[in-house]
Amino acid sequence: MRTADLLGFAVGAARGNRVRTALLMLAMAIGVAAVVTLTALGDGARRYVVREFSAIGSNLVIVLPGRTETGGINPGSFVSSTPRDLTVDDALALLRAPAVQRVAPLAVGTSELSVGGRLREGMVVGSTAEFIEVRQFKMAQGQFLPREDWNRGSQVMVIGAKLRAELFPNEPALGQFVRVGDRRFRVIGVLASTGSGLGMNTDELAIVPVSLAQAMFNTNTLFRILVEARNREAIEPAKQQVTQIIQQRHDGEQDVTVITQDAMLATFDKLLGTLTLGVAGIAAVSLAVAGILVMNVMLVSVAQRRSEIGLLKALGASGSTIRAAFLVEAALLSAAGALFGYALGLAGAAVIRALYPTFPAYPPDWAVLAGLGTALCTGVLFGVLPARNAARLDPVTALARR
């Protein structure tokens, strides 16, 4: 049989029984669409979290006061039970570490901010000029905190976008004064809106020099020290050097916790990778169900067409001609159904993205390939196998079955 005739015959057979063709393609399409949409959902969740973490800043090492994990027993464990404060001098000392690029101390408290008659509870962050670079914020207006002695800050303030809108709804914020407790700060800059990161909503922050914040909150302790390593490879060395320096300064006691963004990212990435795999598992089950559906439709349809196969044999078709005809038909149907399902799945992912614009719901390539591949294989396999068996029958046996 010629190739063009084979194709024509297969298309004719597919169009000859529209219900069967529609059922087959539907089964195929549902399977593939489920795989594509579900994995898009799972992988989207993974990418979303990874992106959120990347927004914190790059090559970040974070120092927290206190230990959150035990590092074995050392003499310090018996001497004192309260961890030493993490101070501005500690932060300054970290600049000695060769792997460290920048250091930004962070003191945090809540206080009342007032402008004229307007009063607002807000989170006040004490930091230094380096903060903006470490966290990679952008300025909307004015400038960030000036570079100056960390222990002696000027009475200036940088505010987040939302805070600006609330405190200065109708007037320019730059140059205005904000009262915090018994101090007055001049607004010298407004941050560009970024959203949340590290558990703080940047748009609602009021940032002042760290020494003033500590004085206001009457404490020497820092909430965090943000350390930026020189590059990605320097993150691990920076972590070790930071740990070492703080330990030296704290009488040999390891009373801080040093975490890297990378470690967090890796953990979450692993976690979400597992999630994606779980979703892929669900998709695989739906694919298997679709495969069985395809199989059944194919089996029934070939059984129905046994007499046709018998007729073709009586008319002089060889076994290989019959196998080729059914192979082409199954391949065409499977390919059409799988592509239709792929389009359906992409549409599903697009709907998810339209509903949740921040959610990057794109199907991963491996899932698309697995989905299409499985659908095609099941379709072709179960289209051809029963046809092979039917082609092997004596024509009279095949003809007799209706």
């Binding site: 010629r2 004719g12 057979a13 073709l312 009586a314 008319l315 002089g316 076994g319």
Partner: protein
């Protein structure tokens, strides 16, 4: 006789001790019990007999649709029962045409496409196919029905399409199983005349039928009973068993 090519007068078909046994549960049915038969090219034979006498089985064996359990079948001097399924398919394609009681047309194909089907399966180029189909449609009076599907055709037209399909590869023999069984008397006669015309053109015609009137038209009649040929009578002459 027996060795291929040895017989001086070349028989088209030679059956020796053909047996076909069916197992239905515990009972064993001898559908064909030791059939010996010789058919020359161009003969017109009616196979008659009661239901279950083995007529259709004989036809199926002759047409290589079914394989005998024992015996030899020489088709044009060639032992065909031992051929591979694909070689048998080639023989069916080139030498044998079938006409079935229930027509067995492919419902999704038009009359012209049904007629062309054996040529499509044999891989003939489409220009040659179109030409032959055109001639066949013309010859069978189906030209204005070419693009109709089987369900848009009358019974007689369907059987004419089926006969056109059976003869499109210019086979040496035409096997018809109750070709008029699903047709009324007038249409049936028309179909029989068509088959007889083809026979007059040189094609061996073997018709399985219940219909005594149809059987009487054949030049040779085989009467079957219990899987054996009871009478083998030539036109006019009284029956005498062959072999």
């Amino acid at each position: 006789m027996g060795t291929p090519g040895a017989s001086a007068s070349e028989a088209q078909i030679e059956l020796q001790g053909i047996e076909r046994v069916f197992h239905l549960g515990d009972s064993v049915v001898h559908a064909l019990a030791g059939i010996d038969l010789r058919i020359d090219a161009g003969e017109y034979i009616a196979v008659m007999g009661p239901s279950g006498s083995g007529k259709s089985t004989l036809l199926n064996v002759l047409g290589l649709l079914d394989r005998p359990d024992a015996g030899h079948y020489l088709l044009e001097g060639r032992a065909v029962t031992t051929l591979s399924p694909d070689e048998q398919a080639r023989v069916r394609s080139q030498r044998i045409g079938f006409v079935f009681q229930s027509f067995h047309l492919v419902p999704r194909l038009t009359a012209a496409e049904n007629i062309a089907l054996p040529m499509v399966l044999a891989g003939l180029p489409s220009r040659e196919r179109d030409e032959r189909v055109r001639q066949a449609l013309d010859g069978f009076g189906l030209t204005d029905r070419a693009e109709h599907r089987p369900d848009q055709l009358s019974g007689g037209q369907r059987q004419r399409v089926a006969i056109a399909r059976a003869t499109i590869m210019q086979p040496a023999m035409l096997l018809a199983d109750e070709p008029t069984g699903n047709l009324d008397r007038a249409t049936g006669d028309e179909v029989v005349r068509l088959l007889e015309q083809l026979n007059a053109g040189g094609v061996t015609l073997l018709v399985v039928t219940h219909d005594a009137a149809l059987g009487a038209r054949a030049r040779r009649r085989l009467l079957m009973e219990d899987g054996a040929i009871r009478h083998d009578e030539r036109q006019g002459a009284a029956g005498h068993a062959h072999g």
